[in-house]
Symmetry: C2
Amino acid sequence: MGCFVYFILGSCKDINIGPTAIMSIMIQPYVAILGPAGSVLICFLSGCIIFVLGLLHLGFIVEFFSYPVIAGFTTAAALTIASSQLKGLLGVSWKSNAFLESWISLFEHITETRKWDVTLGVITIAFLIFTKEIRRFGTLMYRPEWSKRRNIIGIFIFMFSLARNAIAVIIGTVIAYSFYLQDYEPFILTGNVTGGLPSFTLPPFSTTDANGTEITFVEMTKVYGSVIVFCPLIAVIEHIAIAKAFSKGRTLDATQELLALGLCNIMGSFVQSMPVTGSFTRTAVNNASGVKTTAGGILTGAMVLLALGFLTSTFRYIPKATLSAVIIVAMYYLCEFEAFALLWRTKKMDLIPLSATLLCCLLINLEYGILIGIATNVLFVLYTSARPKLEIEHPSGDVYVVKLKTGLHFSAAEYVREHILQNCVIEKSTVIIDGKYIGNIDATVAKSFSVLREELIIRDQKLLFINFKKCVMDTCVGVNKDLSQCFRDSLEQIVEVPLTMRTDNNVTVYSMQ
Amino acid sequence: MGCFVYFILGSCKDINIGPTAIMSIMIQPYVAILGPAGSVLICFLSGCIIFVLGLLHLGFIVEFFSYPVIAGFTTAAALTIASSQLKGLLGVSWKSNAFLESWISLFEHITETRKWDVTLGVITIAFLIFTKEIRRFGTLMYRPEWSKRRNIIGIFIFMFSLARNAIAVIIGTVIAYSFYLQDYEPFILTGNVTGGLPSFTLPPFSTTDANGTEITFVEMTKVYGSVIVFCPLIAVIEHIAIAKAFSKGRTLDATQELLALGLCNIMGSFVQSMPVTGSFTRTAVNNASGVKTTAGGILTGAMVLLALGFLTSTFRYIPKATLSAVIIVAMYYLCEFEAFALLWRTKKMDLIPLSATLLCCLLINLEYGILIGIATNVLFVLYTSARPKLEIEHPSGDVYVVKLKTGLHFSAAEYVREHILQNCVIEKSTVIIDGKYIGNIDATVAKSFSVLREELIIRDQKLLFINFKKCVMDTCVGVNKDLSQCFRDSLEQIVEVPLTMRTDNNVTVYSMQ
């Protein structure tokens, strides 16, 4: 469904929309509670939220997902997914799919390992890593200027490497099937997959649990909790990240992409889909295959439909160990361990959001992890806003000129006030705030100016403002009418006599109000 | 206990530490579940958190509570407390103390109103408002230069107004007691108050519920939830706000105040106290009484101890309607409705955090309300950080000079990149980013520069940097070594031939790398 909808609405020719590993791991705990209906409803809700984000032009939200946070999240998701596949690889079974629990369960159940499953799994992993790495040889053995015959080995290796996942699954299935024909079943198999096309119905707004009790819509949303927000956000991030990667040189219409992705999910929920988003690997294959328009999605969609119609009876024989091996290898290559090295080299501070995201995603869960990661990162921005650059010049014994180098937010109000109080201490002096670079202030800052003025008066000092913009002056005067006496046009208007002369006599040139 | 500890550690002579209305309403829901132990444990935990905040010099956290958020929170808390006293005023009873529930319950129970309670309550309210307002006449009838006899009426009115709460309670108690002597009880009375001094023991790290089941420490902290964070934060905000109001002209040692407040709470929890903080009204009375050092707290503490020892038998006869009236009037004067007018005049944008805080505090609860208020306010800061000022000069046909007016955070990375891509479109042109005002960048910004360079190369354009600081250059090169080719010392180094000449011929003066 995603392929067909995106064909009409999408703006990036390469993107392939469908279920992704990260989406799967995010909604898995809720499907465990609510059953299949749980994934269809979250698909519908995510679609609605993404669509509304698009309508409101709120795509800029994704700008707050910085590189360290995304790298930490991706790595944590990959490690979680890979860990959840350990049971399939060993042929044992436990319930949890979370990172920590998977490893604890592995320890508890390692004695139950089935030898044939683990053998098949490990061989498949070795095969996949080998075929992935030989791709480099493929490209080495190919030169456009060489003859076709000379190039054929290079092309073959390249294609073989690209198709490695399909090859591994086909080989595994053939092996399992030939054992099956001899009434022998050494591997745990996928089992029956229901074939046929899904019916077109409304998404489920209520469901029943294992005991047959009804779970209402409100109860379902309570089960989802914060994932209602994070599922669409992660979908948008994955999608936008891929769209950007493949629309090099052209600017991306994020709003159009959000509307398209939202509708893909909404329409998908009518055919019982889980949440979908852009898939990096399939998009890359699409691009490598030389797709020219989004109509490539029609072909993908048609092939999925054909597989649903005619191939599901074959899926029954796919060994679970093979699938686990395919997923584990894919996840290994998704981990961004090099982000640690890169940030160590470039900006060590960024290791904090990266580590916070990675650890919290692994130890708590993916949603909280990304939330804590963003919060950590946003703290850097807030800290900067709370500590504006401030220069105090002291041209003569009784004049201080305070120059603010950036705009002022409420968070900076206290800092500026205290900094001035602590540094401008000479009695009977005049403190002049130069507002040249202050674009705008809020009521909290204006209030702190008003308090500062009163405090300086108590200390027998005086506060004046120069170079203030009209809107900033209005805010100040709105908070305290008395502040209107403090504005001057320029430093020259205050300091009438030359600076060198003023310290000699005691004339109070500042009492001008 | 607060008074005695603050005497030793406090730095602000006027502050009076003890239970406050806002603290009470914050912890009330948890006391309803956990019993008295619930308030003692949160007192201990709050004290520890405040103390640690002080040790880590993290007092600057309170700077993120802006004026609109504090005004909204105070008003909402006052309205909530006043609403929770409606039942006492009418002599009826219901369970909830929340704002909405109180008014709904009022509607349901209004027919049960007890006429004598409501009469006493309303008369007390009228008395309190009248005596509060006549204070103005008191000050009008007092002049230091007048004779003592002429001033005596002014002083009397002033003192009478100041003592109005005590007078109302004493009158109410006397009336109730005289009825009691005639075996007649028209009002609901406070009932027995346990007298005597509390014992000095460890705070309770577990408790039992109404059925006698033990509630462990972990379960108690789960009941508290986010209030574990907000109780100390609100205590700190109240305390620091009061300390600032009464330390005019002197800078406040916030760290010292946090350590003092933290220890007041920790020590308080050993004598079964609820969370304590600076009390605005009592501090104001302290100040008006001419207190000179924090030793004034010793007197307050001693009087509280004496009252506990000898007066508790009297408390039994205080009519609940009188207490409710006293609290309702006090809360009415705490409401900051004028904040709306002030912000309308000065900065209409600030009405958003004010309204968000007020409404969410009233309709959800105080903790979520203040959290949402701060989040709304922080969004303004983040939006500014995500939309840095950016000027693009276009001195000639094939040169763009991009001047960034502020520092860059990860949140600005995408905006800057897209803005440049959209505005610098002429083919074969050179885009020059002037980094004069860029103090520091993070890895996300450096990555976006790297992507921008690749995108411009695809479009047959070129990216150069001038005036970049060493640390910014290092971050860029760390992300992508190729960026090292882009740095130039100044605009002159790039534009070698005069600007007017360059458009005439096709010489590529920029191919210097």
